[in-house]
């Protein structure tokens, strides 16, 4: 009854490129009938007789034999394809309706529309890629800037898996010593594990893990972009600065305090990295109504999620205590940047006090009408996001060496970090040390997929858009 369903995997089709108008689009067919379907819809060559991985020029024909589009068709045979199955890739013109017609035509020949992440799931299942690589593919698909695509590609080559494997072996070695002590020392002549050696190994692993996390944090920024929230008191010039950074008039600017009530968003690219700017309502005690109050609430919520809070202060008026502290660098808030606006107006007494301070300890002053300070501000934002060294490296350099960029990977690495730190603190108590080592190993396995579980896979695969 169900035999037919299982005997052979069915054949699926979907666009492999993102929806929207582009010059070219790719439609991918994968499964046992992929090539025979291509035979039926393609005029040019006969795909089933085509040599491995060759590209053919021709036309996709409708059921009535009318041409749909002029395309390039590539044939892949199992196991030498992305999914490990027989596959065909059709490069067609990018118009969405053409893509749709080609997909419909393939479906009419017996293929099924691929579900989200189905090609990658098939590749994973056929042993073409491991879990870390599968995740990286998700990242490539979701990459929104050049840097993100580079770091995702790096991971795809299995470099991360290799480093994790070697750490895994180190931890397993230590665990083996510890377990031998626990299980045999009482009855057999087994030496106790060497606490100092354990500490040293854990130290080494910790260094690597922290390096991965640090670079990964940067990598995450490369991938997800940097969330910059522009905050400050009403009428400080937040929206003016927002528009200036975006180089367009997005926010309504007026003399009236409290004009911006909702959060506005815009994107800019600095050094190959995507920065999302959020213009928020000004913070003041005497909000004039429910809408403004709600706007202020939202502004505060945004700040919590921010990678960088860009605090804007009007230099021509008296500064608040908070602003003064920020300006003097007396705060422990990570990634807060204070900037003086209205550089064209005379400085008030509080701001003027900073005029003689050296650049490094003086807030940047911008003047939107003249454009003064804007480039410096952009450079400061980039530096704050990725660090001095990376920011100096220019477009190509940023996060080129980040191995881990997915949120799940970073989360798992932090689990490993916590477990290793905890283990190093409890080397005397073998059974607890063993617990920590196991937790660390589980954390690593979560990345490489060796301990993969159902929910994990669901989560990973559901993140794929159709086609990859």
């Amino acid at each position: 009854m169900s035999t037919i369903l299982y005997r052979e995997g069915d054949t699926v089709v979907a666009p492999a490129t993102a929806p929207g108008v582009g010059a070219l689009a790719v439609v991918r067919i994968s499964g046992p009938d992929a090539i025979s379907i291509a035979d039926r819809i393609f005029s040019g060559a006969t795909p089933s007789r085509a040599p491995l991985r060759t590209m053919h020029h021709g036309t996709i024909l409708s059921v009535d034999g009318e041409p749909i589009d002029e395309v390039l068709l590539t044939v892949f045979r199992t196991p030498h394809s992305y999914t490990g199955e027989d596959s065909v890739e059709i490069s067609c013109h990018g118009a969405p309706y053409l893509v749709r017609r080609i997909v419909d035509r393939v479906v009419a020949e017996g293929a099924r529309l691929a579900g989200p992440g189905e090609f990658t799931r098939r590749a994973f299942r056929n042993g073409r890629i491991d879990l870390a690589q599968a995740e990286a593919v998700a990242d490539v698909i979701q990459a929104r800037s050049a840097g993100a695509a580079r770091s995702a590609l790096r991971q795809l080559h299995g470099g991360l898996s290799k480093r994790l494997q070697s750490m895994r072996h180190q931890l397993i070695d230590v665990l083996a010593d510890v377990e031998a002590d626990l299980d045999f020392a009482a009855e057999e002549e087994v030496p106790s594990y060497d606490r100092e050696a354990v500490k040293a190994t854990l130290g080494e692993v910790l260094t690597i893990i922290r390096d991965l996390i640090e670079k990964g944090e940067r990598g995450r920024i490369v991938r997800d972009g940097v969330r910059v929230v522009i905050a400050g008191r009403p009428n400080a010039g937040k929206s003016t600065l927002f528009n200036a950074l975006l180089e367009e008039d997005r926010a309504i600017v007026s003399e009236e305090p409290g004009t911006t009530r909702d959060v506005l968003e815009g994107e800019i690219e600095l050094g190959g990295i995507l920065f999302t700017l959020h213009d928020t309502a000004g913070e003041r005690e005497e909000a004039t109504g429910a809408i403004e109050t709600e706007g202020i609430q939202r502004a505060k919520a945004k700040q919590k999620e921010a990678d960088i809070v860009l605090r804007v202060a009007d230099r021509s008026v008296a500064l608040t205590g908070d602003e003064k502290r920020l300006a003097r660098g007396e705060h422990d808030l990570p990634r807060h940047l204070l900037v003086f606006t209205k550089g064209d107006l005379p400085a008030g007494p509080d701001a003027a006090a900073f005029d003689d301070a050296p650049r490094a300890s003086r807030p940047l002053t911008v003047c939107v009408p003249s454009g003064e300070g804007l480039d410096e501000l952009r450079a400061d934002l980039l530096r704050l996001a990725v660090g001095e060294k990376e920011a100096g490296a220019g477009k190509q350099g940023v996060a080129g060496d980040a191995d881990v960029t997915s949120r799940r990977h970073l989360q798992a690495l932090r689990t490993v970090e916590r477990a290793v730190v905890s283990g190093a603190a409890t080397v005397r108590e073998g059974e607890l040390l063993a617990e920590d080592l196991r937790a660390a190993l589980n954390g690593l396995d979560e990345i490489t997929g060796e301990g993969a579980r159902e929910e994990l896979l669901d989560e990973i695969f559901s993140r794929f858009c159709i086609g990859k």
Binding site: R121, E431, R453, E454
Partner: protein, 627 residues
């Protein structure tokens, strides 16, 4: 069946450590049980080391006790040297062990079996199994008696096609002077069961009166001894010491010179032996750099004239055994009473049983003990009681009892067996239990007494005692968590113990959590609340210190539960799942895992295979619903 000599609910073949528990469980639940043994004097016989327990094994024994089994009570009655192992290490890796009066142990078990009205103990060899329509119906003995039984539990130990080796002498038999069971093995093979070979061994025994004890180092037993059973008040038998001596250059020379006379080294034994319990010739060969190995001289019983030299398992010829024994301090003048030997035997690779220990091929036929590839009395007894319980459950029409890996070492044992075939005799270790911290030997009652009581096997009183213990510990922890430590006293205390400063408002539980602080240290930080009894103080201390780790384990268990318990239909067609690796398909087809959790632990099954199974299970279930 035309004629029968008896009708039983359950028939148990073999009355070793597995067989006794397998018979007692259903009998105590009210079922009629036939217990068939080759020799009733061998009931509960300790064929090798006269001791029960040890690391992880002690856990098993206390779990058996909590479920309502006999092993713990037996050793409590006849133990002559109790010792809690790993005392210097954490509570989760401590394990009780006791040397037994060897003959006393069998006599105790025989008495229990004979006094159980629902057990018919009969001498005889099972020669045939009656199977109709894939279901067990009973058995036939070598002398032609026919017994019908709804369930049969096979616990033949090392007796199937067993061969004993001492030097170049090869004798058929599973134990000294006891014949092998040949016909039953043959019958199992005709039923379609596969067998493979394993090996184990035992040391020679020496006469107690010929040992010079002054040359050995004395190891005193624990005072007071810690009983295994949660129901034992105190240990009454007089306790004896154990002595330790060592092998030396001379011993090693003798053995090395005669290695070519060892059947192991001549390649006569094909079955794999236990790596954790090598023969002395193996130790000397493999660890050539080690100049000496220790030997425990264990007295076999208060009145026994035999000594068991633990650590000298061997299959060398008798003359060599005698010679090397006499090279060891204290044994220079010893008389060797019984030579050591190796035994090679058939076992049934454990991909042929389910988690209930019922075979996949014959309904109602259960396998327990060494024939599943395990080693050790405790491992055998653990399987015995589970097979007994499940045979009874089958009679009652109840679902089998399956303990999880997070619930009991017994759960770990059974799960390990149904996910991988042992490549050497399987022994329990604490490291096999990933939830080790929540499986302490002294919590076996809290974990399992309710299970035992629900079955009707453990007493309600035992379950109540366990519940009270748990409740009192919780209550005390709740108190310590709500009690703010008096600032001055707390600081004085932590300063003295170098346990770090205390901030005002710190709860007492936070101070107890610090590694340097014991429960008794915090006594001055309590107020008038009644003081818990000393054993409970220890329990509270352990729970508080383990809390963070235990919570993490429990979270993990919860997280995995959904997948763990997702069942796979017995008729699921693995060959129709496209994309499984050959190895995975082969293993899954052989093991027929009952749940996805079990499937994921089978050797050779990768996460990719599991994810595929998930996909196909979804589809399978959808298709099943449709049809």
């Amino acid at each position: 069946m035309s004629r029968t000599d008896g009708k039983y609910d359950v028939a148990v073949i073999g009355a070793g450590h597995a067989g006794v528990e397998a018979a007692l469980a259903p009998a105590r639940l009210g079922f009629r049980v036939l217990l068939l043994t080759l020799d009733r004097l061998a009931v509960g016989r300790m064929s090798c080391n006269p001791a029960i327990g040890g690391l992880a094994k002690g856990h098993l024994v206390r779990e058996i006790d909590a479920l309502g089994g006999e092993m713990a009570r037996a050793i409590d009655a006849v133990g002559i040297h109790f010792k809690l192992l790993n005392r210097s290490r954490g509570p989760a890796v401590q394990g009780p062990r006791a040397q037994a009066d060897r003959d006393g142990y069998s006599a105790y078990m025989l008495g229990v079996v004979e006094n159980e009205p629902n057990i018919d103990l009969k001498d005889g060899e099972a020669a045939d199994l009656i199977v109709t329509g894939g279901e067990i119906r009973g058995l036939v003995t070598a002398t032609g008696e026919k017994y019908s039984a709804d369930s049969v539990i096979l616990t033949a130990g090392t007796f199937l096609s067993a061969v004993m080796f001492t030097g170049d002498r090869k004798v058929a038999g599973g134990r000294r002077n006891e014949p092998a069971a040949e016909r039953l093995g043959e019958r199992m093979r005709t039923l379609g069961f596969r067998t493979a070979r394993l090996k184990t061994g035992t040391p020679p025994r020496v006469r107690r009166s010929t040992v010079d004890w002054s040359r050995a180092w004395e190891q005193k037993p624990d005072r007071p001894p810690l009983p295994f059973s949660f129901g034992t008040e105190s240990i009454d038998r007089p306790q004896v010491s154990c002595w330790i001596t060592r092998t030396n250059d001379k011993t090693h020379d003798i053995i090395r010179r005669n290695l070519d006379r060892s059947p192991l080294f001549r390649g006569e034994i094909g079955g794999a032996g236990p790596r954790y319990c090598p023969s002395i010739e193996d130790k000397i060969h493999r660890f050539a750099h080690q100049p000496s190995h220790h030997v425990f001289l264990e007295i076999e019983g208060g009145d026994s004239d035999l000594v068991y030299p633990n650590g000298l398992s061997t299959s060398l010829p008798e003359d060599v055994q005698e010679e090397f024994l006499r090279s060891i301090p204290g044994l220079e003048e010893c008389e060797m009473v019984i030579p050591g030997y190796a035994v090679e035997y058939d076992f049934f690779p454990s991909d042929q049983i389910r988690r209930s220990l019922e075979t996949t091929l014959v309904e109602g036929l259960y396998l327990a003990g060494q024939m599943n590839g395990t080693s050790g009395y405790e491992e055998a007894a653990a399987q015995g009681i589970m097979a007994g319980i499940n045979a009874a459950n089958r009679c009652r029409g109840d679902r089998p009892l399956v303990l999880s890996r997070a619930e009991a070492y017994i759960g770990v044992l059974v799960d390990d067996l149904v996910t991988r075939v042992p490549r050497e005799p399987y022994r329990m270790f604490t490291s096999r239990a990933e939830h080790r911290l929540i499986l302490r030997h002294d919590t076996a009652d809290v974990r399992l007494a309710p299970v035992g009581a629900a079955l009707g096997l453990a007493s309600e009183a035992a379950a109540r005692r366990a519940a009270e213990k748990d409740r009192d510990a919780r209550r005390e922890i709740a108190y310590l968590s709500s009690r703010t430590a008096p600032f001055h006293e707390a600081n004085e205390l932590t300063e003295r113990l170098e346990a770090g400063p205390v901030r005002p408002g710190t709860k007492v539980v936070e101070i107890l959590r610090r590694p340097a602080v014991s429960y008794d240290d915090i006594l001055p930080l309590r107020d008038g609340e009644p003081l818990p009894a000393p054993p409970l103080r220890r329990e509270v201390e352990v729970r508080v210190k383990y809390a963070g780790y235990v919570e993490r384990q429990i979270r993990l268990v919860e997280k995995l539960k959904k997948m763990e318990n997702r069942s796979i239909p017995t008729h699921f067609a693995y060959e129709e799942v496209g994309g499984l690796s050959n190895e995975a398909e082969e293993k899954l087809t052989a093991f027929r895992p009952e749940t996805l959790g079990v499937a994921s632990r089978i050797e050779g099954v990768t996460p990719a295979d599991v994810s595929l199974l998930v996909v196909y299970l979804d589809r399978w279930e959808r298709t099943e619903e449709l049809s």
